[in-house]
Each structure stands twice: as C-alpha cells, then as structure tokens.
Symmetry: C2
Subunit: 80 residues, 2 copies
C-alpha cells in the first residue's frame, strides 16, 4: 500500500525556505508571485491488512516522527 503524507508549516509560522524561494523567483523576473510556502511530501510504502489499519499506522507515524505537530500540519492520502 502506498500513501502520501504532506507536511506543511502551520499558518503564521515563519517559512524561511519559502521566503528565500519567493525572493529568488522575484529576482528571476517572476514578479507576480505573492507567496511561496515549502513543505514536505513523504511517500510511504507499507504492508497493511486494510486501508483503515494503514491510515491508523500512518497517523501514528506522522504524530511520532514525520511531523512536528507544534508547528506543522499534515494530511494523509492513500494512493494505491
């Protein structure tokens, strides 16, 4: 089973990597960009009996390791 966990900084949390990309895009002439935020896309392949069990385990993984829930939000999507 394959799942995508998207981890992004919460609104209001400063995103220096996004700011740097935004600035660099401006320097390259892309001056119509108003905001850039950069998060992580984590693709996890796992053996699981069913979808519900996989979702539970992926949520545990996100909570314990993959996301820092103080400053980050995450979404889980099973893709295959």
């Amino acid at each position: 089973m394959k799942a995508i966990i998207n981890v992004s900084l919460k609104e209001g949390v400063l995103d220096p990597q996004g700011k740097a990309a935004h600035h660099a895009l401006g320097s390259l002439g892309f001056d119509n960009v108003t905001d850039v935020r950069i998060g992580k896309q984590i693709v996890v392949t796992l053996d699981a009996a069913d979808r519900a069990q996989a979702e539970k385990e992926l949520d545990d993984m996100a909570q314990t390791l993959l996301a820092n829930t103080v400053i980050e939000d995450y979404t889980i999507e099973i893709v295959g």
Copy 2:
C-alpha cells in the same frame, strides 16, 4: 491563483533523508514499512490572467529554480 508543485527525486536517485526516516520508523516499531521517499511540496500563490498562463509560468519556475531536473521530477497542480 494557487498551485502546488510537487518535487520528488527520480527513481534510482538515492534519497538519504527518506532512508533515515525509514530506519527511524523501523526503530519505533513500524516494521511493516518497505520504503520512504521524501520530496518537497511547494505552494505558490500568484497573480495570473488565466490558468494556461499560470501553468506556463509555474513550469518555467520549476525548470529554472524550484526543481533540479537532472535528479528530480516535478508535477504542477492548480488548486484554486
């Protein structure tokens, strides 16, 4: 207009960050995980006249700055 650019390492390119996460998940007891790959999810907000123009500009941004096309693939999705 808001778009998501997902940047991921091409198949066959070593992903040390993903390997480290895989190993850490194993140490935490998630021993049914067979693979972890970590990419970037870049959320770009921009002013564009229409969808086609936005897609063209986002493709230029990915090619010139946001992705390293030698080792990375990217997808562009307009979300709003």
